[in-house]
Subunit: 231 residues, 2 copies
DNA sequence: TGCCTTTGTGTCTTTGCAGCACAATAATAA
DNA sequence: TTATTATTGTGCTGCAAAGACACAAAGGCA
């Protein structure tokens, strides 16, 4: 094999850490591998990138094939390329994470996922390939990003209570002493990005909470004028 | 060509944004391309990744071939993989940045750089490929990272004055109104990571400044106990 | 009607950041 | 030797944001 040929005997894939939130725990969607290598092991959903496909597109495709969802929040994190990371050849992988509303995910529509299941990130065991390392990277990125951009809302239903929002932040950031309710509300409301819907929860056995909605248009207007979210 | 073969008809490269600081401007090292495509254009130093080479290693190799330097600060930033980003085929590239002491760089030791030259980042023109976009990403990353980790010192000589350090931060962060001298000194000295050498500048036509040195050992001890640099 | 659970709210203290001016030091020129 | 020039080194005062903290109000349920 010529040197030039050997350069091209390599491939790249995308792996996607798909985050969801069930009201208590931060979760990720894992698939159980049906084929070697690592048959039977849990792994991040991923696939080789098609020759004429952009990287982001490939990550979107992986997500859609697994969940049927399109247009969700997606972010590239970093690339893993250790020579021996894939037993069958030189495959580097570009890691992404996405944020979906867990209620939108119904059932596996497709294909390569014999079984897909939500796992609490705090209880993820040993994964195939270098996927634990990839997960760590993506989780770190999420922790940083969720404070610098209003992406947490991608994990919540359109209407939510302030308590739900706080639980989400606590699940992601896992601060040692929790978050102070009054200070959290003060800070989040002072952004003026939450729209008070003048509706309340129904069917709860206690004082019902008010429902809010994230005002994306307003956020984008502010960003255009130099605003930067910080929580 | 079979589908499997076509998956493997692709390659990956690394591109390295090499930052230096000359006391006033933040600079990057660019090479002028001697071959098509983009012959004659300035470009980031980069190369294909060898089949049996890790990504970080490839980035280090590119740097060493160009500067002769080893063991410098290096960080992966992100991966660029648009289908049409390379005119000759599907080549995705993993972008890195490195920080070197500009005085350590003497002359081009090697090879693929017909001419390498420092360019002020503020005066970089149109580059080959998508290298302007890559540069933007790396610069943004540097701006963020230099505030979260004591990496600025990688760009300065071992002994430096507080004014030099401040000029470096101003060159990187380019804050609208400059940085206040007293507040900067207060903050940087309060980290207790600068070792006062009890030496002063010599041969300057004004009051000589004290020389300091970054205490890397101390920093690493603190990090091990949960400290996080923030400036 | 009373009980249970969760929501919603204000104040005080502490900490960090921004803004600001002038005397001390060394080289150089007169 | 003295004056000039350039740059260093230093402290205080608001102001804004963050952290700590407790209790009445609302609704379902027994």
């Amino acid at each position: 094999m010529s040197e030039v040929e050997s350069f091209f005997k390599s491939a790249f894939s995308v792996d996607n850490v798909i985050f969801g939130f069930d009201g208590g725990d931060l979760k990720i969607l894992l698939i159980q591998r049906g084929a070697a290598p690592y048959r039977g092991k849990w792994a991040l959903p991923g696939d080789l990138v098609y020759p004429n496909e952009d990287l982001d597109t490939a990550a979107e495709r992986v997500l859609e094939q697994l969940t049927g969802l399109r247009g969700v929040y997606l972010e590239q994190v970093r690339t893993f390329g250790a020579v021996d990371r894939h037993p069958l050849g030189r495959v580097i992988t570009i890691a992404y994470f996405s944020l979906i509303k867990i209620s939108d995910y119904t059932v596996t529509p497709a294909s390569f996922a014999q079984s897909a299941k939500w796992h609490s990130v705090s209880k993820v065991g040993e994964l195939a390939f270098d996927h634990n390392e990839i997960l760590d990277s993506c989780l770190k990125r999420l922790k940083r990003k969720v404070r610098m951009a209003p992406i947490g809302f991608e994990l919540l239903p359109p209407k939510f209570t302030l308590t739900e929002l706080q639980l989400l932040y606590e699940a992601i950031l896992a601060p040692p002493k929790g978050i102070d309710k009054r200070n959290f509300r003060k800070k989040i409301l002072s952004t003026n990005l939450l729209h008070d819907l003048n509706e309340v929860q129904e069917g709860v056995a206690h004082r019902p909470a008010k429902l809010y909605q994230f005002d994306k248009d307003k956020y984008e207007q502010l960003v255009a004028v130099g605003y930067s979210f910080d929580i």
